[in-house]
Amino acid sequence: MRSVRRARPSFAGTSRLLALSAILLIGLAACATKPPADDPDAVADFKQTNDPLEPTNRVFYAINNGIDTVILRPLAQAYRFAVPGAVRQGIHNVLSNIATPGQLTNDMLEGKPRRAGDTAMRFLINTTVGVFGIFDVAKRWGYPDHDADFGMTMANWGVPEGPFLFLPVLGPTDPRDAAGFGINIAIDPFTWVGGPNDTGWTVFKWTRYGLNAVDSRERVLDSLDQIKKTALDPYATFRSLYRQHRHAQIEEMRNDHGATVPVWFPRPASESSASSK
């Protein structure tokens, strides 16, 4: 199942943004007030929420929400209005296909050979038969897509997620995923193609980042509208949803034990039934 992909500004831009947000965080870091120790339930809640920077996070949530309301959401609406669904799906598929080399690296770093095999087959099939990734033929041929990014990779290595963060541009995240976001861009081969004066590649990269942002936003138009309408505290709701979604993605990856076994290799009956999807 596809997940929400965030916008990916260029690496230089992102590192500058991350540095800026780090400075802002240090400057603004107001800490959430810890509940009194004589209220164990409240303390347990506070620990479970694990959002010590909540006041600062809420400021960034408000800023991001403002930017979204005036820029990204209207763009996504215009995109949905102007571009037919089938074309949007094609664009989405092309963007996913461009991201497969990075995905493959993460599959391997996660130690998931079967997933890596799926990704490699997806790239080969969809780039050729699927015409530069427009059509997801591989899915029909038994190579379904899955999520992989460096945040998930680090999770599989045992890196803890840390407290909740809400960052400008990135939105809901945590230290592990924020670092993973940067490293993910660094391990994406398309980040490094073309020199600084290569107009063609520069246009390609920025078109890709821009389209990615609009495509991801368009895919969650209805859901986000609904959440904002029904939540009493949208910030807390997004915090909860982000974490649950990440945990589910990581669990799914961890429990994916499909092994790549050659067809001629004799295997126990129990395994052969378990591995058939």
Binding site: G85, R219, T230, D233, A236, H245
Partner: protein, 201 residues
Amino acid sequence: MIYRRPFLTFAAASALLTAVHPSRAQSADRASAFLKSLGDQLVAVVNGPGSIGSKRAAMTRIIDSDVDVDGIGRFCLGRYWRLATPEQQKQYLKIFREVLVTNITSKLGDYQGVTFTMGRSRPQDEEAVVSTTVIRPNNPPTAVDWIIANPSSDPKVIDVVAEGTSLRLTQRQDYASYLAHNNNSIEALITAMRNQVSQNS
């Protein structure tokens, strides 16, 4: 002769046990059948003819009969349930039902053309989890798991998990945060829920 009676008792008891505790796989099958029927009803109402008013009424009937609204409501209040007075608990459950019904019925229009496909079902503790894929126009397909309580005796939906996010857990954390920022006042929560219903209905 002497052994016959205990043997019969044992046979009867084991027969009874089998009847009362059907295997876990069987209960997952029943949960699956229950959900298929529930899903078909929901899709029929959403895509069917009739005014918004009649659709809302039909939806409310389905929710009341197949969803454990009070159980979900208690879960969503979390630790504050024990802090609430019996009167507040009553008021809260009443308004919670309205919130749930309004949230579902207010987006009936957006769900026009919805379909779903059934996936696997599996037992989980005392409950059963039925996986589905919900497909609605203009939106990517969504993996939705339905948590069914008492799958073999009195099946009721107690949670909906969309793309790994639990509806009741999210709601609980929303309420908890609201309460934490409003002096833990259950009155304030009930008022906010009332406002929400009047705005969205």
